[in-house]
Amino acid sequence: MQPTAGDDSRSRTTPGPRPARARPAYAISTRGLVKSYPGADGTSTHAVRGLDLDVLEGETFAFLGPNGAGKSTTLALLCALTRPTAGRATVAGADVLGRPDQVRSRVGMLFQHSALDPDLTAEQNLYIHARLYGLSRRHTRRRVTETLETVALADRRRSLVRTLSGGMRRRLELARGLLHAPRVLFLDEPTTGLDPHARAQVWEHLRVLRDRQGSTLFVTTHYLEEAEHCDRLGIIDHGRLVAQGTPAAMKAAIGDDRVALRTGDDAAARQVVARTVPPGRTVTLDTEGVSVRLPDGSAWIPRLCAALAAHGVAVHAASAAPPTLDDVFFHHTGRSIHAAAAPRTPTVPLADPPASATEEAP
C-alpha cells in the first residue's frame, strides 16, 4: 500500500530520504479507478471506468461532465464514501482503500443536496459536526467562531437554520466543511439553486480559501463561467476522463474561431463560403445562419463579405467568436453542458473536427 501520492518509481530511485522536490505534490491522484454496480440480470453497470486523474495541491480543479457521466460516483470514491471496484486513489496523502478514515478526516465535502438540522441554530449545527470529527471542546469553540467569521455569518450564529436564506445555508455548509481544516475540499455543485448574488458570494469565499490557505478545491459545476475561473478543469464522460487542462489551453486546443454570417440567402452563401475558405473546412447551415470554424476568424470576415457581395448575396450580420468552454465541452462530449435546456440538434452537421466522434451510450 503506497502511503503517498505521486510517481513512486521515480522517487524510489533516489536513495535516502525522499527530497520534497522530487515529485509534484498531488492532492488527488488516481490510477485506473473503476466503480461498477451489479446490475439486475448479472451484468454490471460501470459508473467509473478507469479514471486517471491528478490534482495538484493548492489548485482549484473544476470537474465537468454531462449528467450520468460519473461525477457523483467519482466524488464518492475520492472522499472514501464508496469503495472502488478496482484501481487506486490517493487523496490528501492517504489511500482511499487502505485508510478511508484518514481520507475522510483530511477532506471536506459539500454535497449538492446538503443537509443541516433546521431545528438547531447555526452554531449548534457546527458544534455537533466538529465533535463528530473528533475536535476537543475548546478547539471546537474556536473553530466554530473562526469558520462563521470566514463565511461572514458571525452575526447569525444564534439563528435557527430554518430562518436562514438559501445562500446563507450554503455558506453555513461551507463553514461546516471547513471546521476540521481539510486539506482538500470537495464541492458538488456548490452554487446550484442560488441567485447570482449568493453565487458570487460563495465563490468569493472559495477564492479567499484558495489564496490565503492554499486549500485544494475540487468543484463540480454546471456553470461554465465558474469553471472559467478555475486553475484547471477535467471533463468526464462515460466514466472516463476525456480531457483536462487549463481553461485557456483547452480552448486553444479547439483552436479556431467560429465565424457566423446572416445573409439574405443562406443556402447560396454556404456555397460561396465553402469555395472561399481553405478546403477541408465544414460549413454549417442552420437556423442561425451560416457558420464555419477558421483560425483568426475576424480577419476572415471582410474577405467573406467581399466574396458574398461579388455573388450578389446580401450580408446582414457577421461575427467571429473565440471558442468558449461550452465549445470545449461539446467537442469532447458531443453534448452541450446545458443539455437539458437546449440540445444542439445532431441533424444539422456542425463544424466539428472528426475527432469528436463520441458515441452515445444506449
Partner: protein, 296 residues
C-alpha cells in the same frame, strides 16, 4: 477579520499541525476518545433538539398522562381493587411509564430514516468514525431522551399511590433506561432495514399497539389464553413493565399480586428479566450495526 488558523496544505506524509484531530498515527486511546466524541456529538444533538422543541416534548408527555387519568380513571370504577391487589391507576402506572419511554425511542428510528432522506445521514457518514459508532450514538441519544421523559412522568407517582422515595425513583429510572435502550435498539434495527418513513410508521403502528396491550401494563394477562402468554414471554415491553412493577412492589406490596411474565409456569428473577432485556438490546444493536455497515 484574521485568517483562520487553518494549517497550510503541506506535502503528504509530513506531520500535521498540532491541534488537528486524527493525526497520522493514532493509538488505541486517542482512537477511542475520537469515537466517544462522535457518540457525544449525537447525544448532544438529541438533547439540543429536545430543548429546541418544548411544545413537541410537552405533547409527547401529555399522551401518557391522558391515558393514566382518563383510561385509569374510567376503568378504576369498573375493576375491583381485590382483582389487582392495588387500585387500577396504581396498577396502570408501570404500563404508562413504558408507554412514555417507547415514544421517543421510536422517534430515533424515524429520524434515522428522515436523516437518510434529507442527506444528513450522508454528512454523518462522512465523519471519520466507524458506522457502528454512529449507530451507538443514535441509540445512546434515544435512550437518554426517553429516560428523561420517563423521569418527568415519574413525578406523577404520588397522584396514583406510588410513594416518592429517592431509592425507588433511582431504581425505576434505571429500569426505564434499560427498557428504552432495548426499544431504541430494536427500532434502529428496523429503521436500517427500511428506507421509507411511511412504511416504518405503519409497521410500528401495527406492532406497537399489540405489544403495549400484551405487556401486562394495561390489564392482567393471567386469564388470557395460552398463546397470548407465549407472546408476552417474547415481548420486550412486558419485561420492562414487569421490572417496573416489581420495583414498585418493594414499596407497595400489593403490586406483586399480579403475575407478569412466566417461563413455563415460573416467574423469572428480576435480574434474569433485566438480563434478557439487555441481551436483546445488545443483540439488536450489533445486528443493526452489521446491516448499517453494509449500506453504501
Amino acid at each position: 477579520m484574521t485568517a483562520p488558523a487553518l494549517p497550510a496544505a503541506d506535502a503528504p506524509g509530513t506531520r500535521e499541525a498540532p491541534g488537528l484531530p486524527a493525526g497520522a498515527r493514532r493509538g488505541l486511546l486517542p482512537l477511542l476518545r475520537h469515537e466517544l466524541r462522535a457518540v457525544h456529538a449525537l447525544v448532544h444533538r438529541d438533547l439540543l433538539r429536545l430543548r429546541a422543541q418544548p411544545t413537541h416534548t410537552a405533547l409527547m408527555l401529555l399522551q401518557p398522562v391522558l391515558y393514566l387519568f382518563l383510561l385509569g380513571g374510567g376503568l378504576a370504577a369498573l375493576i375491583p381493587h381485590s382483582a389487582l391487589g392495588v387500585g387500577y391507576r396504581t396498577y396502570l402506572f408501570p404500563g404508562i411509564l413504558i408507554m412514555t419511554v417507547q415514544a421517543p425511542a421510536i422517534v430515533v428510528g424515524i429520524r434515522l430514516i428522515t436523516d437518510r432522506q434529507s442527506g444528513y445521514l450522508r454528512e454523518l457518514l462522512m465523519a471519520p468514525v466507524s458506522r457502528p459508532t454512529l449507530l451507538l450514538g443514535s441509540c445512546a441519544g434515544g435512550t437518554l431522551v426517553s429516560t428523561i421523559q420517563g423521569a418527568v412522568l415519574l413525578g406523577l407517582g404520588g397522584a396514583v399511590g406510588v410513594p416518592y422515595d429517592p431509592l425507588l425513583a433511582a431504581l425505576l429510572i434505571a429500569c426505564m433506561m434499560l427498557a428504552s435502550f432495548t426499544i431504541t435498539a430494536l427500532t434502529l434495527l428496523l429503521a436500517v432495514s427500511l428506507s421509507r418513513p411511511e412504511t416504518f410508521q405503519m409497521l410500528l403502528g401495527l406492532v406497537m399497539m399489540p405489544l403495549l396491550f400484551l405487556s401486562g401494563g394495561f390489564f392482567p394477562l393471567e386469564n388470557m389464553p395460552g398463546w397470548t402468554r407465549a407472546l408476552t414471554a417474547a415481548n420486550p415491553l412486558a419485561y420492562g413493565v414487569d421490572l417496573l412493577r416489581r420495583s414498585i412492589a418493594l414499596r407497595v406490596p400489593g403490586q406483586a399480586d399480579v403475575v407478569g411474565i412466566e417461563w413455563s409456569g415460573r416467574q423469572p428473577s428480576p435480574f434474569l428479566e433485566g438480563a434478557v432485556l439487555l441481551v436483546a438490546g445488545v443483540t439488536a444493536l450489533l445486528w443493526a450495526a452489521r446491516r448499517f455497515s453494509r449500506v453504501e
